[in-house]
Symmetry: C2
Subunit: 399 residues, 2 copies
């Protein structure tokens, strides 16, 4: 029987709602392109409720305990005295989410001698040292596509909000003012702008599709070129590298996984190649952008705005400069954890566990590492290596 | 020689920027559908700068004074002692914007014996008592299409921001928190939702087009039915009335002009017909929604969110309930006054004035009232009548 350790974010400090804002979720048929939605044999949770926080338990307890497995759920993930680090020692399976990542560094993997499976309840397994997981022969799996559309919606929202200066304008209302000129002195239509995505996979393509009717000029860079028919349909221009693409863009959105080749990609040099007054939206991973270079570019006016919901580490310390830099529109890491997304990744996590316990193969598209190498989605999108360095700083959030 | 009185919003209290956030504006070829952009013979302003506030003067002073006309520009528009009411007495032409409307009530028109032309530098002439303008034989003109796309972008931004709970999530970042569960307990994807527009003219159609790739179900109501080919292209379902449409919608967006038939359309009864937890976005005119019914519906949870940028009167008093009701995402009236839009409506205002002074016809699509009746765009979209009742309350903003 397996011991499963599940790291989830804290329950609401403001308490659970008496009633959720809405009754249920729209019914979807499949993911775009036809990939089937998660297909567990059953679920023990109510879609549209909080599943990703500690007491939600991803809806797994009845299922796991019914089969004789044990489940430990905690939000206490950082530092050597954390519940996660203690429980990890004899865990068989770790489940974590990108929003509140349980960093599986090489040191932690070394301590967890029984660990065979790491599941990301979401997309993006960069919180796992993939090289260490490969060396150990672990399986790493994630719920591919479960929240790609969620994130693409967040990206479009943030592009519009930065360009149109939404949040500062809202704040004038709340303060009792009617300061139109103060609001609109930084407000632009996106119509006619050039918008480029770094990465045109599931999320990046969904962003391009959603932006097309805004009558913008679309650009992309990716290590995999899109089919010619898709390029034509979207009227999107390919560039070999991000550095080639950014000089022509008014808006850049990052929709690529984090791995050693994308880490620190938007540093001083690449940001300097952008147009003055461009907007940068990063819902991919915090480490793809250099923390201090972004803050400086906002202060100098090189960037007109920065938004996104990914940070490093997570949670970021209270004095992280992205909390207070000018002209930002940041959120905590929530774009892929809407109630809509939670229902899908809880179901997908259960699907992976059912396969694992029954000895059935996990869907190829869910695999990141298997059999001692990058596999499935991992082989398509990742590089072997480690992107967890520096994660110990997350413990500073507690203080 | 004519006396022109131009009412514009105040200059920024935070001061003009040393440098604007961006260098210039994207170049557009024409409006969607082929209507030409404004075609003045020349312009005396820099596109991309503040033109709609007092010192911007819509870029008109050199042009008007060069022809021997006089120009008075003021933001002081409300109450019997206002500069506007004093200067109106011998004005030939009044120019105003919907964002900071100079209410031309029947009483004010009666006092302005020389007034022949009222220009709206923007779209929406409900701040003019159209019945009184008809009776007087005035011409009322607006810059049709100048900011329709601007507003449509604002609508999509606000729909996404309400559904995804953007602003409260941003606020957690600024407060130093990482309260994912508090953010996402009210966060939903719009994918799969039913979204309906009241009004499918230039703005409403642009909203539908922009929402289509979000894989939502589209609905509309309008007194003019869209061509069948457009209905099919957008896969949009027609409803005869707003009351018929709202029960099936998760999101309702209002994109109709204000006239006696749309005033107070969203009252207690219509809001009660909406799905519990629906979102309502109104960038059309404040008076289309009942002020207190909206606030009550947010408090009860009947509405999950309300956003928009139109109020009544404008500016709204500091104690207007829409400033403080729960789950709102309001802005001042800015959606149609981005720097991008200002360049177009300043050019369109000049085009109208050139035509007027040279005795050339004003474009049919710019006309609201002419020759003692509704004309042009006015005949298509408005009803004769008065929607200015209650506007005297705007003077309360000063106190």
């Amino acid at each position: 029987m397996a011991k499963v350790v599940c790291v989830l974010y804290d329950d609401p400090v403001e308490g659970f709602p008496n009633a959720y804002a809405r009754d249920g979720l729209p019914k979807l048929e499949s993911f775009p392109g036809g990939q089937t939605l998660p297909t567990p044999k059953a679920i023990d949770f109510q879609p549209g409720t909080l599943l990703g926080s500690v007491s939600g338990e991803l809806g797994l307890r009845t299922f796991l305990e019914g089969q004789g497995h044990s489940l430990v759920v905690t939000s206490d993930k950082d530092g050597p005295d954390s519940v996660f680090e203690r429980e990890l020692v004899d865990a068989d399976i770790v489940i974590s989410q990108p929003f509140w990542p349980a960093y599986l560094t090489a040191e932690r993997i070394a301590k967890a001698s029984k660990l065979k499976l790491a599941i990301t309840a979401g997309i993006g397994s960069d919180h796992v040292d993939l090289q260490a997981a490969i060396d150990r022969g672990m399986t790493v799996a994630e719920v591919t596509y479960c929240n790609s559309i969620s994130v693409s919606e967040h990206v479009v929202m943030m592009i519009l909000s930065l360009a149109r200066n939404y949040i500062p304008s809202y704040q004038w209302v709340v303060k009792g003012g009617w300061n139109i000129a103060d609001c609109v002195a930084r407000s632009y239509d996106i119509e006619g702008m050039a918008i480029g995505t770094v990465g045109a996979g599931r999320i990046g393509s969904a962003v391009l599709r959603r932006l097309k009717p805004f009558d913008v000029k679309l650009h992309y860079t990716d290590r995999h070129r899109l089919p010619e028919a898709v390029e034509q349909e979207l009227a999107v221009t390919f560039h070999k590298t991000a550095a080639d693409m950014v000089p022509v863009c008014d808006v850049v959105t990052i929709n690529a996984p984090l791995h050693p080749e994308t880490e620190n990609l938007f540093d001083n040099a690449v940001i300097a190649k952008m147009k003055r007054g461009a907007y940068l939206v990063n819902t991919a991973r915090g480490k793809i952008c250099n923390r201090d270079a972004v803050a400086r570019a906002l202060e100098s006016g090189q960037l007109a705005g920065y938004a996104g919901d990914v940070w490093f580490p997570q949670p970021p310390p209270k004095d992280h400069p992205w909390r207070s830099m000018p002209h930002h529109g940041m959120t905590p890491h929530i774009s892929g954890s809407s109630l809509s997304a939670q229902a899908r990744y809880a179901a997908g996590t259960r699907e992976i566990l059912e396969c694992w316990f029954e000895g059935r193969p996990i869907r190829e598209e869910y695999l990141i590492v298997a059999g001692g190498k990058l596999a499935g989605a991992g082989a398509h999108s990742y590089s072997a290596g480690d992107a967890t360095r520096g994660s110990e700083e997350a413990a500073r959030f507690k203080t």
